[in-house]
């Protein structure tokens, strides 16, 4: 294991293990848990070592098959992608503990199929974060999407229909991205991101490069479910098997936002994006503000906890897209910090949902009555997650929202600031409603002896870990921003 290809092992571990899970899982179920947890633990440890190395010596890259860049495919790791590697591997590790339990209940005898796709999805996410090649990024985007289609379609009832809608929308998104890359290739003759960015500075791209940027952005927005293009997400994530939602909900949208940041600043330049086209930048912040308000309003209308959370995810996408396009370093810091925090918050809330579903079989509001007495630990962790989502200090959600607000004020984008405050208020209403339902019974109903019936340890442990992580990350926001995020900002900030 030499130092310069350490990050390749992070990606290779889940990819190779996926095949063993498929083979050995057929023979005996007892293989699945140790293989999955083992390879993800290996990835987590390795990615933390990669982050340490990047912090000490700066970024490095590895060319696959020894074909030198710009012709070969480069796997690059810098501060931002190292942070994302750690985030993905840790979230995946925590989520898979709970997923193992929930899948064995929801999809008995299909576990080996589920976890094969699950691990390939994780490998695809690692690849997306690492790749330095624009076309390779398209292929990896489709690897993550195809595995997600499969995972969603394993759900019950309407899940295949939701999966089919996602296939149609996801393909449109990926094809738009591919078209954008095509235009860039026609203009520059290169597919390596760093190489394209150098060539773009020397040529006058004109309309063709602007078209490329537009296609790539719209393609990624479909994939990340920015508000008017979000149609596929609520159904897909709420009907998917709980184990799949546990992984997809915290990671998929966040990684796509990382991709947007990567393409914006590694291929195009700050100068081109913000200074030459202030109108576009302004318009996108407004779209993000609109996305936050509309998605929050839609969340209010839901009567099912899981569906409500999916609409909150759509609102959070607006936060981060707006933060990136505010075009100042405070907003950018907020957006990157929010990628981390939102992944952890969503993970915590979905783990709580998984635990409740395991015991009750439903997370509709009506069935949540008296849940605090039934599952006190689960609901305590859920409350921490809810507070983070609302943005109550000292949970992590407060600090990134604070940066985003400051960035919005600094940029003079009042629409965005109002949208953030509105969404925080709506989140407060949403979660306090659930807390109220959970604490009290309907009047006149008699629940003398409510039996305490907690979820199994395999589901509670990750939930409590993620709740504690929210508070730890929140309290450690200062050093985290100073030592890691500041270095991870794209050049020009």
């Amino acid at each position: 294991m030499s130092a310069s290809n350490l990050h390749v092992y992070v990606m290779a571990a889940p990819l190779l293990t996926a095949f063993f899970v498929n083979l050995l899982g057929r023979v005996s179920k007892s293989w699945i848990a140790p293989l999955t947890l083992g390879c993800l633990a290996f990835s987590s440890v390795t990615s933390i070592i990669v982050l340490g190395r990047v912090m000490a010596y700066g970024g490095f890259s590895y060319v696959v098959g020894n074909w030198q860049a710009p012709y070969g495919i480069e796997l690059v790791v810098d501060h931002l992608s190292a942070v994302m590697l750690v985030l993905i591997s840790v979230v995946a590790l925590i989520a898979s503990m709970s997923a193992l339990k929930s899948v064995s209940q929801e999809l008995p005898d299909q576990e080996y199929l589920f976890f094969t796709l699950y691990l390939i999805l994780i490998a695809g996410l690692f690849g997306l974060v690492l790749t330095g090649d624009a076309f390779n990024l398209y292929v990896l985007l489709e690897i993550t999407s195809i595995t997600t289609y499969g995972l969603i379609a394993m759900g019950k009832g309407r899940a295949p229909l939701a999966s089919f809608n996602y296939i149609i929308m996801g393909t449109i998104g990926a094809c738009f991205y591919l078209l954008g890359v095509g235009y860039l290739y026609l203009m520059t003759g290169s597919l390596n991101m760093a190489d394209i960015s150098q060539i773009l500075q020397t040529i006058d791209g004109g309309a063709a490069v602007a078209t490329a940027l537009a296609f790539i952005l719209v393609g990624l927005w479909v994939k990340m479910a920015l508000f008017p293009l979000h149609g596929w997400l609520p159904n897909a994530y709420s009907l998917a098997p709980t184990g799949a939602a546990l992984l997809a909900a915290p990671l998929m949208t966040k990684v796509t936002i990382y991709l947007m940041v990567r393409v914006m600043f590694s291929v195009f330049s700050v100068d081109y994006l913000f200074l030459q086209n202030p109108m576009v930048q302004n318009a996108i912040v407004w779209v993000a503000a609109l996305a936050i308000i509309c998605a929050s309003a839609l969340a209010l209308a839901q009567r099912d906890l899981k569906r409500m959370l999916t609409y909150i995810i759509v609102a959070e996408v607006g936060y981060m897209v707006g933060g990136v396009w505010l075009a100042n370093s405070t907003g950018m810091t907020g957006a990157i910090l929010h990628i981390i925090n939102d992944a952890l918050m969503t993970l915590c809330l979905f783990l709580a949902v998984a635990a409740i579903l395991y015991r009750l079989g439903s997370v509709e509001f009506d069935s949540l009555q008296g849940i605090y007495r039934k599952m006190p630990f689960t609901m305590a962790a859920f409350t921490v997650g809810a507070f983070a989502m609302i943005g109550i200090p000292p949970t992590a959600g407060f600090f990134s929202k604070w940066y985003l607000l400051l960035g919005g004020i600094e940029a003079g984008q009042w629409g965005y600031v109002v949208a953030l405050l509105f969404s925080s208020l709506v989140n407060a209403v949403l979660f306090f409603r659930i807390i109220e339902i959970g604490y009290f019974f309907k009047e006149g109903e008699h629940h003398g002896h409510e039996i305490r019936e907690e979820a199994p340890l395999m589901m509670q442990a990750p939930l409590l870990i993620s709740a504690v992580a929210l508070i730890v990350v929140g309290l450690g926001s200062g050093p985290l921003v100073e030592n890691v995020i500041k270095l991870a900002l794209p050049t020009g900030f």
């Binding site: 076309f135 195809i146 295949p160 089919f164 296939i167 094809c175 290739y185």
Partner: protein, 129 residues
């Protein structure tokens, strides 16, 4: 008018790809039958393949298979050979397209078993009951 015609004729391959893409896009958004949506998706992908492949074409150029000794003697004249890279990229894109189609067909099979139809309206009607 003349200018527009010359513009269209000079870059006709791009116009064909845009037209094909719009047909595919219409089928994906407008059609109510799920299989037609899937076929629209394939047309959409094919349009992009056409765009890439036609970008590699050079008028009067040969296939990019070179005689080693000739190249060692005279070097490569880039204008004489077709650019092979877009074709290679599209091989990968075709593989991706086939896998997506495969997954989509499998999902359609499950939908058909569940509802007994692939018309979106009829499925929604059954769900509404």
């Amino acid at each position: 008018m003349d200018q527009i015609m010359t513009l269209i004729i000079a870059k006709y391959n791009y116009w064909i790809y845009v037209t094909l893409m719009m047909i595919g896009f219409y089928a994906m958004i407008g059609k109510r039958n799920l299989v037609k949506k899937l076929i629209g998706m394939n047309i959409f992908q094919t349009a992009i393949i056409l765009m890439f492949v036609s970008a590699g074409v050079k008028v009067g150029a040969k296939i990019p298979i070179l005689d080693k000794y000739e190249v060692m003697k005279n070097g490569v004249q880039a204008a004489d050979i077709v650019n092979p890279l877009p074709h290679v990229l599209m091989l990968t894109a075709i593989v991706v397209g086939v896998s997506v189609t495969g997954v989509a067909l499998a999902v359609l099979l499950r939908i058909y078993r569940e509802y007994g139809t692939l018309e979106e309206d009829e499925i929604l009607e059954k769900l509404g009951k």
